[in-house]
C-alpha cells in the first residue's frame, strides 16, 4: 500500500508596492501594519522613499523598479498575494497573474487577505497613483534591461561612448540630416503607438521590393524623429504609397523631382498636433516634418531607394526629405479632400501624391471667383512646362483668403475644380512643338484641338495656410502620372 504525503497548503505571502509620493499609499500605511500584525507574511517594496512606512514592516528598496516591473505593477498601492513559500522573487519573468488589488478598494483588500476588519475607519475607495515603473521612458527602459523586447531587427552593438548619430551616418541610414538613434527603448516606445503586430508585413517596398514589417516602420519612424502617436499616419501613408496605382518604384527611381507628398485629413491631424495653418508647408511642426520623412526613410532603408544609386533624380527637391501637411478643415463649408475622394466625413485619412516642391501663386487683386480662377489657371499652366498638357498632375493648395473669395460667392470644391479645368483648356496651336519658337510642346497632330492642361482626376485642391495672405501654392506632380493608370494619388482611411 502506498502512502501519500499530504501537500501542505502554501502559506500566502503578500507583497505590497507603494511610493511616498502617493496620497493613497500614505493613507493605507497603517493597513500594511494590520496585515503584518494579523500574522501574514508581508514584504513592502517602496519606489521612492520608504520612511513613511512602519519600521516594523519588512521593506525593500525598489528605487531601481526591478521588482515593480517584474510584478507587473501599474498602480500604487498594489497588494499581491503570492501563493509561494518564497514570495515572488523566484519568478524572474514579468507576471501579473497573481491575485491582486490595485489602489484602495477596501472590499478587495479584505477579500484578498481574508481579514474582514481590515482598514476599518478608512474610506471604502481611493484611487491609486501610477507606478513609477510605467512612466513614459521608464517602462521601455525596464523592458529592455529586465525583460524581453521581442524586437526582431538585427542588433547593432556599439562601444559605450560611441557617437550614435555619427554611427547612423556611417551606416548610410540618413537622408543627410542627423537622425534619432533607434535604441531598443525608442523602438518599443514607437511600437506602442500602434495596435498592429510588430511582425506584420505592411508591404513590399520598392525598388528592392523588400518586405517591410510594422517594426521596421517603427525603427525608421524613430530615425525620422516621430512621436509614437504618429505611427498610424506613417503606416497608412506607407500603405497608400505601396498601392500599385501610386507606382512608388517609378516615383523613387525617376529622373524627375517627385516624392510622396502626404496630406492628412480628419481628427487625427488635430490630435497629433499637425499644422494646417500658418506655414503649413514649411518648417517648425514636428508631425509635419517627421511623418513624411519617416516614409522616405523607409523607402531608403528598407526599399533601397538611395539618391545617386537607383534614385536617379536629376535635381530632386527638398520635399524628398519629407513633405507632409494637414488640410485645414476649420471651415465647415469646405469639403475635405479625403471626403471628396470617398472617405466618410469625420474619419481620418491620408492621401499620397507624387509631387515636387512648391510654386507660389500671388494674386492680391482678384475679388471674384472668375478673376481668381483665371489667375490661378495662368499659374497652373506652368506645371511641367507651359506647353505640355495632360502631362503632370498637380495639387493646388488654396489659402484661406483665396478660398474666401470662392466661399463668399457660394463656390465649393467641385465648382472651383470644374472652373479651373475649363480655364485650363488650351489651344493646341499655342502648344505644339515649335510654337512660340519653343521646341518643347505637344505633337503637331493636336494643333487644332482644345487640350485640357490636366486629366479630369489630375488636379487636386486642398485648403491650408495662415489666415492672412492672398497667396496659394501649386505642387506640381510626377509626369509618370500623365496617364491615370500609370500613377495616381491614393487615399486611405487611417485605422486609429
Amino acid at each position: 500500500m502506498s502512502s501519500v504525503t499530504p501537500t501542505a497548503t502554501p502559506t500566502p505571502h503578500f507583497v505590497a508596492v507603494v511610493k511616498d509620493d502617493c496620497e493613497t499609499c500614505q493613507l493605507i500605511g497603517p493597513v500594511l501594519g494590520e496585515i503584518a500584525a494579523a500574522g501574514h507574511r508581508l514584504t513592502v517594496y517602496w519606489q521612492d522613499d520608504g520612511t513613511f512606512l512602519d519600521p516594523a514592516l519588512v521593506v525593500v528598496d525598489d528605487r531601481e523598479l526591478v521588482h515593480s516591473f517584474r510584478l507587473g505593477v501599474e498602480t500604487v498601492p498594489t497588494l499581491i498575494r503570492c501563493d509561494s513559500e518564497n514570495g515572488p522573487e523566484t519568478r524572474p519573468s514579468r507576471r501579473t497573474d497573481q491575485p491582486r488589488a490595485a489602489g484602495w478598494i477596501r472590499s478587495e483588500w479584505r477579500a484578498l487577505t481574508g481579514l474582514p476588519g481590515l482598514g476599518d475607519g478608512l474610506p471604502r475607495y481611493r484611487p491609486g497613483c501610477g507606478s513609477l515603473s510605467v512612466e513614459p521612458g521608464v517602462a521601455e527602459a525596464l523592458q529592455v534591461r529586465h525583460g524581453h523586447t521581442g524586437i526582431r531587427a538585427r542588433d547593432i552593438r556599439l562601444d559605450p561612448g560611441a557617437d550614435l548619430v555619427e554611427a547612423c551616418f556611417d551606416r548610410g541610414w540618413t537622408d543627410g540630416l542627423p537622425v534619432v538613434p533607434p535604441t531598443p527603448e525608442r523602438v518599443l516606445r514607437m511600437l506602442a503607438g500602434t495596435r498592429r503586430n510588430p511582425g506584420e508585413i505592411v508591404g513590399d517596398v520598392p525598388p528592392n521590393l523588400a518586405p517591410c514589417t510594422v517594426e521596421k516602420v517603427a525603427i525608421n519612424a524613430v530615425l525620422a524623429g516621430c512621436r509614437p502617436e504618429y505611427m498610424p499616419v506613417v503606416l497608412t501613408a506607407l500603405e497608400a504609397a505601396l498601392d500599385p496605382g501610386f507606382t512608388l518604384h517609378g516615383v523613387t527611381c525617376s529622373t524627375c523631382f517627385s516624392s510622396p507628398v502626404v496630406i492628412v485629413n480628419g481628427p487625427i491631424a488635430k490630435r497629433i498636433g499637425m499644422n494646417a495653418g500658418l506655414n503649413a508647408l514649411g518648417q517648425g511642426n514636428r508631425a509635419n516634418a517627421t511623418i513624411g520623412r519617416a516614409l522616405n526613410l523607409v523607402v531608403r532603408n528598407v526599399g533601397g531607394g538611395r539618391p545617386g544609386e537607383i534614385d536617379r533624380a536629376t535635381l530632386g527637391s527638398p520635399g524628398k526629405v519629407g513633405f507632409c501637411f494637414a488640410e485645414d478643415e476649420t471651415d465647415g463649408d469646405w469639403e475635405p479632400l479625403s471626403v471628396s475622394r470617398g472617405i466618410s466625413a469625420g474619419r481620418s485619412a491620408v492621401t499620397v501624391f507624387a509631387g515636387d516642391g512648391i510654386q507660389g501663386v500671388t494674386d492680391q487683386k482678384a475679388r471674384t471667383p472668375g478673376e481668381l480662377t483665371r489667375s490661378l489657371a495662368m499659374a497652373l499652366i506652368a506645371v511641367g512646362h507651359p506647353k505640355l498638357c495632360e502631362w503632370a498632375p498637380a495639387v493646388l493648395v488654396l489659402s484661406p483668403e483665396h478660398h474666401a473669395i470662392y466661399r463668399e460667392a457660394g463656390w465649393g470644391r467641385r465648382r472651383i475644380t470644374g472652373a479651373l479645368h475649363r480655364a485650363l483648356l488650351r489651344h493646341g496651336s499655342d502648344l505644339v512643338s515649335g510654337a512660340g519658337g519653343v521646341a518643347e510642346g505637344m505633337p503637331l497632330s493636336r494643333k487644332d484641338e482644345k487640350i485640357p492642361k490636366f486629366h479630369p482626376e489630375a488636379l487636386l485642391v486642398v485648403r491650408a495656410g495662415g489666415p492672412a495672405g492672398l497667396f496659394s501654392a501649386i505642387l506640381a506632380g510626377w509626369p509618370g502620372g500623365r496617364l491615370l493608370e500609370e500613377s495616381h494619388p491614393v487615399t486611405l482611411e487611417i485605422d486609429e
Binding site: 538585427r154 547593432i156 533607434p182 529622373t255
Partner: protein, 95 residues
C-alpha cells in the same frame, strides 16, 4: 563608467544582395539575336526602328520587346522572355 555596449536596431531590410558575374558580351553578332527593348519612353520606337533596320542590314536577327509604360518596372516574366529569347539586348532608356 558604463561598459555595456549600446544597441541600435537595424532600419534596413537586412537583405544581402547576391552578385553574379555579368554574362560576357558576344565576340560577334553573327548568328545571334538582339533584343530591342522599348521601356515606354517617348520616341523609343523610332530609335529602335532605326537600329533594327541597321542590324538587319548586317544580317543580325532582332526581337522586339516592350513594356506598356516606363512608369512601372518590367515584369519578371518579360525579363525572362528577353533573357531566354536573345543573346544581347539594347534598351531604349530615355526620350
Amino acid at each position: 563608467m558604463n561598459t555595456k555596449p549600446v544597441i541600435l536596431h537595424d532600419p534596413t531590410s537586412e537583405a544581402t544582395p547576391t552578385t553574379r558575374p555579368r554574362r560576357p558580351p558576344p565576340d560577334s553578332l553573327d548568328g545571334k539575336t538582339v533584343a530591342l527593348f522599348d521601356i515606354g519612353k517617348a520616341r523609343a520606337g523610332e530609335f529602335l526602328d532605326h537600329l533594327e533596320a541597321r542590324l538587319r542590314a548586317r544580317g543580325v536577327s532582332t526581337a522586339r520587346f516592350a513594356k506598356p509604360t516606363n512608369a512601372k518596372p518590367a515584369t519578371t516574366r518579360l525579363l525572362g522572355d528577353i533573357a531566354t529569347g536573345a543573346d544581347a539586348v539594347v534598351e531604349a532608356l530615355a526620350d
